[in-house]
Amino acid sequence: MIHLALPLTLVAILAGAGAYGVIARRNAVLVLIGVELILNAANLLLVTMGSVTADPLRSGHVLALFVITIAAAEVGVALAVILALFRDRGHVDLSEPGT
């Protein structure tokens, strides 16, 4: 038995921290870390709801697995884009305008 308030609070904290990271950071890789935190908040909510509802399809857990896979693909493409950006500009500072 578990109180649902604890996982839900952690979801809110993770999403808030991720949003702060996306807005406050200037380095592209650090922005990516913020995006990962938001994705993990969504994942934790999916797993929590999947664990506590009597769903015969196990949607919560299966969708959490899907989100993890899509996040892996996203990070691969993002790494390639960041490297192309670095080769083009010599830095990955997102606050500076492109040429």
Partner: protein, 185 residues
Amino acid sequence: MTTLDVLFAAIGLIAAASAVLAVTTRHLVHAALWLVVTLGTLAGCYLVLGAELVALVQLLVYVGAVVVLVLFALMLTRAPIGPSPEHTSGPVQRAAAAVAGAGVAGLLGAVLLTALGGRLVSTREGRTHGVAEQLFGTWVWPFELLSLLLLVALIAAFAVSRMPSATGPEVTSPERRADEAVEVP
């Protein structure tokens, strides 16, 4: 307070603290390492919630692969070792970001806690056998589609990283501006 409550509170406290540190630290590499702590403790949270398969996949894919990719990105973009305040925005944008982050956390927490917060529930739905049966039964076509997505992402990553790089802004910018001018109308 039940046993699972105490366990989840202990692990979740570490996860929340390391998540906040990951977005506020001034060391670039430390941010990635705090992300490792966050993702690992989140796998512990999934274990407490009874989702063993998701916890193991989280450890394998996130801690094993995603963080290594992030560290590679830091290394290949010549991230400096040591504190580097120029990677965070100025105080005004940081304050705005703090307001936005607190707003997101407060709004999400308020909605979720008022909707579902008071419930005391048992976590008996996450057995691996049932999840595997559904994953390879009901969800098998989306699952196969995901492998196609991974393939496409891999090829796209190759294509993007092998794109001809600009030799200089004055050489490429006229072409680029011409392309944009063609595409805009």
